[in-house]
Amino acid sequence: MYSYIGKRVLVAIPTLLIISIFVFSLQKLLPGDPVLALAGEDRDPQTIEYLREKYHLNDPVPVQYIRWVGSALQGDLGISLKTNQPVLKLIGDKLPVTIQLAVMSIIFAFVIGIPMGILAAVKKNTALDYIANVVALSGLSIPNFWLGIMLILLVSVKLGWLPASGYQPFFDDPLRSIQTMLMPAFVLGNALAATLMRHTRSAMLSVLSADYIRTARAKGLSEWAVVLEHSFRNAVLPIVTLSALLFGELLAGAVLTEQIFTIPGFGKLIVDAVFTRDYAVVQGVVLCTAVGFIVMNLIADVFYVLLNPRMRAAL
C-alpha cells in the first residue's frame, strides 16, 4: 500500500512541472502588460520601469520561469504584484474559505445526489424516477450566476432569512459562518448533486441487474438490505472516482460562485489576479490547485483499494 502511494507521489512530480510550464507560458502569451495595469491611472513612466525591474519582468521568459521554480522549491511563491503580499500568505488566507465552501457543497451534493440516485434506480421508470431526473436536469442546466442572484433576491432581500453575501470565518462565529455559506454552497452543490444523481442511478441500475443481486433476493433478504448492502456498496466505486473528478468541477464552479456571493476565496483570488495580470498569484494558485487535484485523486485511489477487495489483491 505504501509503495503504491509512494509511486503515485513520484508520478505527480513531472505532472506538476508540466502544469507549471504550461501555465507560465500561457500567461506570458496573454496580451496586456501587468505593470501597466498595476501602475494605475497615472501610469508614471518611472514607476513602470521600477516595477519591471523589481519583478524581473525585463528578463527572458525562461529565466523568469527558472527563477520562479527555484524559489517555489524553497517554499517562496513570490510576491503579489497588486497587493505586495507574499503569494503563500494570500493562498493560506483564501484556502480555508474555499475548503469550507467545497466541503459544504459536497455535503449538499452527497445528501441530495446519492439518495436521489438510489431511489431513481430502485423505482426505475416510475413518477419518482422522472421527478428525480427533472430535478437533476434542472440542476445541471440552471446557470450558477442566475440561481445565485435569484436566491439572493428571494432569501435575503424579500425574506431576510440569510445574509446576501460575504464571509465570516468559521471559528469566529460558527453559526453566522454557516449562514453566510448556505446559499453559495447550495448553488455550487446543486449542479454537483445532479451529476452525482445521474451517475449513482446508472451505477445502481447496472448492479441491480447482476446475478448476485438476484441470488441475494432469492435468499429472502429484505429489499433495503439488497439495495444498500449488496448493490450500493458495489455501485459506490465509480461514484468515488467521480467525486474526485468533481473536485475539479467544484473549484471551477467556486470561481463563479465566489464572485456572485463576494466570498474572498480561491476563485475570487484567481479571477482578480488574471484581470490584473498578477502572474505570481495566478501561478501560485494554479500550482496549489494542481496539488489539490492530485491529492484528491490519490485519496480516491486509496479509497478504491480499501473498498474493493479485488484491487487489494492486485497490489
Binding site: 496586456g32 497615472d42 513612466p45 435575503s156 463576494t262 474572498p264
Partner: protein
Amino acid sequence: MKIAKFLPALMAGALLALPATAAELKIGLQDDADVLDPAQSQTFVGRIVYTALCDKLVDLSPDLKIVPQLATEWAWSDDGKVLTMKLREGVKFHDGTPFNADAVVYDVTRSMTLPESKRKSELKSVEKVEASGEYEVKFTLKSPDVTLLATLSDRAGMMISPTAAKAEGANFGNKPVCSGPFKFVERVQQDRIVLEKFQDYWNKDNIFIDKVTYLPIPDTTVRLANLRAGDLDMIERLAASDAAAVKADANLSYESVVNLGWLAIYFNVGDKATSPMGKDKRLRQAFSLAIDREAANQIVYEGTSVAGNQPFSPQSPWFDKNFPVPARDVEKARALVKEAGFDRVPVEMMVTNNPVAMQMMQIVQSMVAEAGFDVSLKATEFTTLLDEMTAGNYQVARSDWSGRADPDGNIHQFLTCKAALNDAKYCNPDVDKLLNEAREAPDEAVRKQKYDAAMAIIQDDMPMTWIGHQSWIWAMSKKVTGFIPYPDGMIRLAGVKKAD
C-alpha cells in the same frame, strides 16, 4: 409628588449620559483597494478608504475650493515658487506620534523618493520641502505650479505616522497609521477593511460613527441586494439602471453628483496611425458631429450623466462656452466626409468589454453610420486595451478618466506631447505651451484664457472627442443622514450619522 417627577427625570438623565450604542457603518465598494499606503496606492476605492483613515494637508469643498485640513493657512511667494503652510497644532497620529513640520517633511520626501512611490510624477515640480518652524513648512518648487495645492488635497498630501513609516518601510500598507478620524483595525483581502473611531482626533466632535467597515462587492446587483437586505448601510457607484428603483424605495435614499471625469473617444493621430481617421481631422470632426450626445447619455445612463464635449463638464467654471455641446448634424458630417474624399469610412474601434461601455458604443456606431462611418467594434479586456492604447496599436478607442479636482489633471497629461497618458499620440507645440503656461499662472482668469485658447486648437485638431460626464451615485439606508456628495466621489464621514 416632587420625588415622583424627579425620579423619571433622573433616570432619563442617567440614560442620556450612557454612551449610545456604537454606530457601525457598512459601506459597499465596487472594488477591493490595493495596498493601503498613500505613497504606493493607485485605486479609486483606496482613496475612499483614506478619506476616513488619513487626513491630508488640505481638502476640497463640495464646490472644489481648497480648504484647510491639517494645514490651516498657506501663502504663495510672489514668484510662485515657494508655498508656505501653517500646520494645525495638537494633532496626533493613531500611534500617538505628534503631527508637526518634521512629519510633513518626512512624508512628502518619502512620497518623492521611496522606490515604490507612485506619487513621484505628481510631486515632480517640488524641489525640496523643509520645516521653517515647528508648525510651518516651506515647499520650494523648480518652477511655478499652481496645481500643487490640488495635488496635496489627495494622496500626495496624506500624512502618515513617520514612526510607523520608518519601522515598516515599503510594507507600511499592511498596517497603515495616519491621523484621520478613523484608525485601522484589520483587513481581509477582497473581503473587508475595518476602521474604528480615533478618540484623539482633532475634529472628533464632528464624528458620529464608531466603526466603519468597507466591503468590496464588485457586482452592482449584489451590492444593491445587500443594501436592501440591510447588510450594508451605503453603497457607492450604484448602476444607473438601478437609480429609479432606489428612488422609489421608501427605505433608501439616493445621492448623486456629476463627477470630475469624462467619457471620451480617442483617435490615434500618432506616427503609427494608418487609418484615415488618424490622418484627416475632417473625418474626426465629422465623427464627432454625427453623435447625438444627449440621446446617447440619456439612453445608457438613464439620465444620470450629462452630455459633454470637453475635458470639463458644462457645469465646470473651466468649460469653454465658445464650444457648447454640439447638436447632432448628420448633413454637415456627411459633407465633411465627402470633402475628405470618402464615401464610406471603415473604422475599427476598441472598447472595454463591459456592458455599459459596449452599449454606449453600439449607439454611437449606429449614429455615425448615417454619416458614412462603418464602425466595427472590438470588445477588448481592459488590461489589453490599456496595453494597445499605450503602444499606439489602435485606430479609435473608447476610454474614461475618473477626473481630478484641478483642471490641469484632466487635460495636461492627455494632450501634451510627452505626457504619460497621451494615448492619442497627439503633439502640438502650441497646445503644449498653453497648457504649460496654464499650470504656472497663479491668476485663475489668466489660466482660463490659456485653457480656452488650447481648447480652440484641440476642438479643431480633435485628437480626442469627449461625449459626456458620468455621475457618482450613492444609495444608502434612510437611517444614514448628513452625507454630502462631493464631485471627487469620496465618502467623507464628518457629520454623517446613523440612527439606531
